[in-house]
Symmetry: C2
Subunit: 520 residues, 2 copies
Amino acid sequence: MGTVRNVLFIMCDQLRADHLSCYGHPALETPNIDRLAQRGVRFERAFVTSGVCGPSRMSYYTGRYPISHGATWNRVPLSVGELTLGDHLRGKGMTLVLAGKTHVIPDVQGLQRFHLEGDRELGSLLREGGFVPIDRYDGHSPPGKESGYADYLRSRGYRSADPWTDFVISTVGERGEINSGWQMRNVRYPSRVSEEHSETAYMTEKAIRFIREQGERPWVLHLSLVKPHWPYVAPAPYHNRYANSDCAPIVKSRGELENQHPVLAAYRASDECSSFARDEVVETVKPVYMGLIKQIDDHIGRLWKALEELGRWDDTLIVFASDHGDFLGDHWLGEKELFYDTVQRVPFLLYDPDARANASRGKSDARFVECVDVVPTILESLGHPVPSHWVEGRSLLPLTRGQSPGWRDCVYSELDYSYKKVRLALGRKPRECRAFMVRTDDWKYVHWQGFRPQLYNLRDDPDEFRDLGADPRFEAERGELRERLFDFLSTRNLRTTVSDDAVEARTDMARRHGIVIGIW
Amino acid sequence: MGTVRNVLFIMCDQLRADHLSCYGHPALETPNIDRLAQRGVRFERAFVTSGVCGPSRMSYYTGRYPISHGATWNRVPLSVGELTLGDHLRGKGMTLVLAGKTHVIPDVQGLQRFHLEGDRELGSLLREGGFVPIDRYDGHSPPGKESGYADYLRSRGYRSADPWTDFVISTVGERGEINSGWQMRNVRYPSRVSEEHSETAYMTEKAIRFIREQGERPWVLHLSLVKPHWPYVAPAPYHNRYANSDCAPIVKSRGELENQHPVLAAYRASDECSSFARDEVVETVKPVYMGLIKQIDDHIGRLWKALEELGRWDDTLIVFASDHGDFLGDHWLGEKELFYDTVQRVPFLLYDPDARANASRGKSDARFVECVDVVPTILESLGHPVPSHWVEGRSLLPLTRGQSPGWRDCVYSELDYSYKKVRLALGRKPRECRAFMVRTDDWKYVHWQGFRPQLYNLRDDPDEFRDLGADPRFEAERGELRERLFDFLSTRNLRTTVSDDAVEARTDMARRHGIVIGIW
């Protein structure tokens, strides 16, 4: 145990908190991930700032809420004006290395405006949201030239111009027929790649190799796995490792379909939700989703072994998290986006090698964590100041190190559904599709632009089956929660060009600059 | 009358709307400024987004509210990530020329981050907030090297290392003694510069010369005069042009000092407010303030004459406005910042040479205008599209050109008093000093972070003497106005890297990109 010199920030994509054994899954054993919980702290109530990859990840990478970083959905470029973890580390002479997915979309207009096309190093850094990729691969599409995965597959004998489509997400049926994993009925069959050549194996190996090669030079690495995100195709033997009897039950109630909120009704009419509303679909997909997690856990085991060999457990801070969950039929929904805990709550494990964290090892912590806390946690762990006029999250080290700081009593999340078909179904314009959630211990309130709010009593109704958003008995609760949203909206970090310290230092200083106001 | 080819955007600093004859001043005649009202439209209810120079001007120059552009007070740099009028025009091959004040503070860290120190043209443009200065001079301090004014003064015989301090804002008393204009008791005496060498004369001449030199080449010019802002020193004969009997009465009531709002009480304890609470101070300063406006009007007359000679009235859009007012003792206040109409309401005249505007000439328009409307008005007048994902204001041309668009029914303003001594008096941290105002036809509501709100009934109490912010009878009104602020805060333009059209074009397009979600 010792001082933090390296940081390993591991993210899975679309991994639900309740699908790890350390978070209580009844049948899915994830001993390696659980080991991190044993060595560090398991945060029981960690939340993302959006149930969508892009905005959630941009919050993980900037330490700022979507309402501040502005990348409100998947295809929205992160403004070059935003500072990321990579920027903050670069200012301290460190490089933020990437193996895997970021979902960063380059702000091409911003880059052009600053004439950065010609500046290779800075231009490419800004295009990558501050990451320096070993291998960037966002999943859900054939890997592009920024990844070596396609070439790797071809070198291993998968002959195809697009080995991802033809092998990784294709499956082999009972009669040897080849099926596309885009169709969920086909994911009961194994992938056409062998496990050792799968996405999870490939990217974990990249990470392990990087760590080995660093030797004793310090590093900060983001290992960002694209699974268990769809296409839900698993290589053998993980494709049928679990049976339906191993699955946690679907969390849904008939009552949810009565007096539905208009936006939820529109979502439920989508392909993904009407598919996942059918038991057959859930029964096919969920065991494979579990298999993909099991596979991740096995590779995390390899990673831990490498860290052990290299002595890196002594000087490496490790974060394990996810960008959001996956409904998998819960609440009659598929995919993500909406504000149920199923999707907003994520696994969040923090291993801090510092001896001051010894007392917290193996503990669970029920204090609210938000994904914006990762940037300040990493910066503080490396001894760097947190630029609090930019970063909106808080370092978690006071929690692992046994301090008792005053702490937040709610979390926030956001959605902008303007790119979605539901926008058209609801007849709304692109700038009329915003929603904001606030969640306290007992309540969840969602403000929907142009529609009535949602309200859930999490104490009496932890499964969020009864939407009290229109119930006249709860007007006072809604008013109070709306006030919290008002505070959230009105206090975001908008003055980013001046630090609070600089404001302090310059307060009431006009006269020192020769400006004498209002003297008779 | 014809098509708009040029734009002249004139701004005065700290000019109250009610101190022009076209806005009803009882004794101060401003025939030249009034002529613009006769030739164009006089907006009776134009408001700034902040009662402070910096944030108000950054809204004028970006078309965005402070909550979006982030330059919340005078010394806060405008982020290089913000797009200004100059940026939008540059994209169309036009230059935005400056003569006078902008109050833009360069975002040095942003410039460094983008390696723009070496890029002379772009770097200097970004340092200037998109303006290309003929002469930049912000007033209230000795002119720096970005202005030729100090050299000009020396060349006219004002021998001093700092001729501004020693001549422009110094006055000559009755026994020939030299006094500093920083002390308001001394502004009853004339400036030590002659009128023809004063700030207003100098900068107006710069503008006239520029317009002449342009010939028939189109131009966009911001003439930004630093008067009647303090130091309230006027050259002869304007220093004693008006007597106290010419002044509009002070608008204040004893009742305002009872049960004062804590933030107002702190402001009222400042030097400028306790000075202006004394009749002697107002009686000394106000006539000089009026003289400075009269002087401006005379120079505006010269400018009009030049436009006439050059035929520029046929093809030049002209905006005349101010960045905020000046309390001058009203409400027991000096200076500005707070949310009374005295300061928030500004003169706003718009001359549109287009024949479609003929029917509106000489008319008054009571629809709400906000300073964020200037950028879209200028862009539309020149035939350029308004980037509505950046710009938050609306073009006023539909109003001058006789259309009847649906229009706003309230205006917003903001304050961040973290640099002020009042923050210390109130024991608050730099990020705890925000306030937001919403003003409708009948009501004004101010949200103060950490304090009770203010509420005024403008119909029954147009002078804003009775603060109903704590009156239990008006809870419903406060709730409704707070909802408007909630909408304002939750719908700002945060997704600036993608236009609405691009979102429209990409809605529900995943499948076209080969991504097939949720299909059985």
